[in-house]
């Protein structure tokens, strides 16, 4: 019993600015699942995942692709009759599963999140083409052809610059980041 409560509480603790545990207020009404534009691509609906969390099914939850399929659109959040910020909870589940190093095999989400952060820490800016290799690696030749067609089209229209920008005060920027997460010593 104490275990069951603790998983739900643990997730609630990873959510921003929550007092107590809002997830436990879920009425299991299904409004979130009915609203969600990505529900077809989730192995558990948002309602079901909340049910599993509250019932303490930790491994099932972490093995699920539900929160990695969430588009962070907040549509469920604005409609939930219990006032649960479900989108924020999905973010919390992503963070939690990355911290624990426990997530479904073969997902691009965790790899992407890490490379995105690395890119920003390295340059201060994000640059779309740098993200492509991660994607291509995961999707194989067919994905590569499609991506290349799209990229070539953009290049011809002058919409893809050749080099990423960097911010000027990069060193100080990285010192700032270093106060929050370990990113290695300045070179």
């Amino acid at each position: 019993m104490s275990n069951e409560l603790s998983f739900s509480n643990e997730i609630a603790n990873v959510m921003y600015a929550t007092h107590g545990n809002p997830i436990k207020d879920c009425l299991q009404c299904g409004t979130c699942s009915g609203t969600c534009p990505a529900v077809e691509f989730m192995d558990h609906t948002p309602r079901a995942i909340i049910g599993l969390i509250n019932a303490g099914y930790r491994d099932e939850v972490l093995a699920s692709n539900t929160f990695w399929s969430c588009a962070s659109c907040y549509h469920c959040t604005v409609r939930c009759p219990a006032g649960i910020d479900i989108a924020d909870m999905m973010y919390a589940l992503k963070r939690y599963s990355m911290w624990k190093g426990q997530h479904q095999e073969g997902l691009i989400g965790p790899v992407f999140a890490q490379s995105f952060v690395k890119m920003i820490v390295d340059s201060g800016r994000s640059f779309e083409p740098l993200l492509a290799p991660t994607y291509i690696f995961k999707h194989g030749p067919r994905g590569l052809v499609q991506e290349a067609q799209t990229a070539t089209g953009l290049m011809l229209k002058g919409r893809l610059p050749l080099l990423p920008k960097k911010i000027k005060g990069l060193k100080k920027f990285q010192n700032m980041v270093r106060r929050i997460i370990p990113i290695g010593e300045p070179s």
Binding site: C73, Y74, F116, R159, I167, F173, N175, I180, I181
Partner: protein, 290 residues
Amino acid sequence: MKQYAYYPGCSLESLATSYNLSTLEVAQTLGVDLKEIKDWNCCGATAYFPVDELLAHTLVARNLALAEKDGLSDFVAPCSACYKNAYFTNAYLKKDPDLAEHINYALEADNLHVNGTMKVRHLIEVFIEDVGLDEIEKKITHPLKGLRVAPYYGCQLLRPRKDQENVENPQFFESLLSALGAEPVDYPSKTRCCGGSLIITNRKAALDMVHILLQDAVNRKADVIATTCPMCNVNLEVYQGQVNREFGTQFAIPVMYFTQLMGVALGIKPEKLGIGKELVSGEPVLAFAY
């Protein structure tokens, strides 16, 4: 005259240069003085929050701090995701002294300090609220008469909810389009997410979401879809070809930034608005330019 701290965001330097061009042109025509924040950094769109929430807020806060340092009080972003991030980090900074302290500890390493005193708005709000629809209407030289435009709000512009505003059926975008002389198209998915944040991590889901939106706009006989966000725009326009391949459809509906439509209606030359860079021809809109 009032100056606005302008935060273009990363996409406006690469995939969405036409949004940046048209924003600056239209702002100038309407007398809105945008001052680009010096040495701003990427705010992370939707990609930091899965990793570290404090880092996510700090990166946003750095841009707010730079704007505060410039002595400005209005922060404006043309990207819906950047806007949502800036809006909420700014609000949390005011409400949550503990968070503010952590953020300021990190910012100190960059000789910065943030108070969370900015008034953060999306570009479309600044045009509607500060310039006003009447004023805009008065300046229209090339009304978009008969052009059927599907206003696409998407998600981060409206959600999460900030106050008591109507998030289910907003009308401000329609009103702006009417002021331009265009015919706003009513279609069910105007606030439905386009899947922009999933385009790399879950392509199948994202293409499916784009497909639904395009179909919806086409069913209601829209000539063009208007967007307020580079992520939505890229998703709906650049991936239209992939949707066609995936679903056997033949969509060829132009997707334009609302600023490009405003620019044409205000008589600004299409080249200056970045029109001509799109993968799906903007022909129906161009017809109004001359």
